[in-house]
């Protein structure tokens, strides 16, 4: 026999070699875990789908919500602020005030309605021409109608209103904020629903993956015992299971990205038609490539988390006996 007399020489292996061996083992574990998953394509596909569906729901909802938010942020020119000027303000200064408003960055258009015009319009539209004629004095103030730029959100519009109301010449600035506020509240409600549903489903995914990994650990109990008997560290034993979790998670994320894209594409045709009928620029946007990538990454992270949960709970229980 040709044994060199070096004896147990693990400690003498070079650091560089050990690093390369470590990387090598990572590659082996990753490939081996993937192989094991692909060896049982049907049950693995089921796991991916379960994770995919659980992830698709919050991802799809939040994509829808984001599209709606983009819409509600634009308002499509539906908001107007009526700025009533004080009675003592003359028509000339009212005109110049209107021009000042027009110069603001957050104002799209301004229309000046003089008190005479207002009275004429009122008598015309109200059918109360006789009453108006009998008035000794025009009771209506000068009015400036201000339309904010489309990009403003509800808060910014409220700010603009307060700004205009604060001017010395201004009696009152009125914004019918009710529907705007309601929409904002609905959006907030939607956001929270998505958040809660998302948190629950994400927790569900972690638990599903944890359980899948627990079963994988259980089915390889004897192997784990043997590896520990010949000196495998916890890290060494853990590695393949963490990769298993990663692959399940990445696969699930991929399934979710596909499901969401297909579902949104399916919905986008009638939604676009509806938006066109209402003259709105609303359109349902899919997650896109970066969004899909994020979903896959999220899946991978959840997979790792689930595997870590299972591994830290169950692996130390398995000791050679």
């Amino acid at each position: 026999m040709s044994r060199s007399g070096r004896g147990a020489s693990h400690s003498r292996t070079q650091l560089g070699d050990r690093y390369r061996a470590w990387v090598h083992h990572h590659r082996l574990s990753a490939a081996d875990s993937l192989n094991r998953i692909l060896e049982r394509p049907f049950s693995s596909l089921l796991t991916w789908l379960v994770i995919g569906i659980a992830l698709a729901l919050p991802v799809g909802l939040s994509a829808t919500l984001q599209s709606a938010q983009a819409l509600s942020a634009r308002w499509d020119g539906g908001v107007q602020i009526s700025v009533f000027l004080k009675p003592e303000v003359s028509a000339e200064s009212a005109q110049s005030l209107a021009e000042q408003f027009d110069g603001r960055g957050d104002v799209a258009t301004v229309r000046f309605v003089s008190r005479e015009e207002a009275l004429a319009e009122f008598s015309l539209q109200s059918g109360l021409a006789d009453v108006v004629l009998s008035l000794e004095e025009n009771p209506l103030p000068n009015l400036v109608l201000v339309t904010p730029v489309a990009a403003l959100d509800a808060d910014a519009i409220a700010g603009l209103r307060a700004d205009l109301a604060g001017r010395e010449e201004v009696e009152e600035a009125v914004l019918d904020m009710q529907w705007v506020a309601r929409l904002a509240q609905l959006m907030e409600l939607g956001r929270r629903v998505v958040l809660v549903a998302g948190a629950l489903l994400v927790a569900g995914v972690v638990l599903i993956l944890g359980n899948t990994i627990r079963l994988a650990i259980e089915s390889r109990r004897e192997e784990i015992v043997i590896v520990k008997l010949v000196g495998g560290s916890n890290g060494f034993v853990r590695r393949p299971f963490l990769y298993t979790g990663l692959w399940y998670g990445v696969g699930g994320g991929l399934a979710a990205a596909i499901l969401v894209s297909v579902a949104l594409w399916f919905l986008s045709v009638p939604v676009d038609e509806l938006a066109r009928l209402y003259g709105s620029g609303f359109s349902l946007r899919g997650p896109g490539f970066i969004g899909a990538l994020n979903v896959v990454l999220l899946g991978g992270a959840l997979g790792l988390a689930g595997a870590w949960l299972a591994v830290s709970r169950h692996l130390s229980d398995i000791e050679p006996r």
Binding site: H10, V225, E319
Partner: protein, 220 residues
């Protein structure tokens, strides 16, 4: 190389498996550990492997007091010891090569080095041509030799074997014992638990006898 100093071991169930055992196994020795079933042979080996901790007393292996080896240090300790089991405990879904390579992979050897060493170990046990085979297609004796190759591939200074011939016929058993003698002759301390007195008494090595957890004969 291995010293037991007044070691007692009681399992949780309350049965005393070892009682006040003191014994020293010298470096480069080959020692048999014998006694009836239930005498405590396996327990003694398990203490060396740190699969159990003694209730009382100290175990010192290669100058290392095992009391001082914490949980985290156990894998490290086991890598310095080769073990052979009665039921060989091979990974049934891996090739012979991969089974033998396992300790080296764990220790982090470069894979070329792994290849060289695995083939050297398989050569020593006469199974070089079976490296691609799965363990199931091998005979009992061949499986046990794969187990031995795995135990020695990391070139440990200590080799433990628990009933390594328990499932084998006399001719195969003699071959296996001869393998252990060969490893011992190149400087490996070997400790073999076996109740096959007929076999081991022919081999002229030191025999330690246990009865109900006590040493009744420690040989010379």
């Amino acid at each position: 190389m291995i010293t037991f100093d007044r070691v007692s071991m009681r399992y949780d169930e309350g049965h005393d498996a070892l009682r006040d055992v003191s014994v020293t196994i010298d470096p480069d020795d080959l020692v048999f550990l014998t006694g009836h079933s239930g005498a405590g042979k396996s327990t003694l080996l398990r203490l060396i492997m740190l699969m159990e901790r003694p209730t009382r007393g100290q175990v010192i292996v290669d100058g290392r007091n095992l009391q001082k080896v914490r949980r985290r240090g156990i894998p490290r300790h086991r890598r310095d010891i080769g073990v052979v089991f009665q039921n060989h405990r091979l990974l049934l879904d891996r090739t012979v090569f991969d089974n033998v390579a396992l300790p080296l992979t764990i220790s982090g050897y470069d894979h070329r080095e792994v290849g060289r060493r695995v083939r050297a170990a398989l050569d020593k046990v006469g199974l070089l041509d079976r490296e691609r085979a799965m363990p199931e297609v091998l005979s009992g004796g061949e499986q046990q030799r794969v187990g031995i190759a795995r135990a020695v591939v990391g070139r440990p200074r200590i080799l433990l074997a628990d009933e390594p011939t328990g499932n084998l016929d006399p001719a195969l058993s003699a071959e296996i014992m001869q393998l252990f003698e060969e490893f011992n002759s190149v400087g490996v301390t070997v400790l073999i638990a076996s109740h096959d007195l007929a076999l081991i008494s022919r081999l002229h090595h030191r025999i330690i006898t246990l009865r109900e957890g006590r040493i009744v004969g420690a040989g010379a």
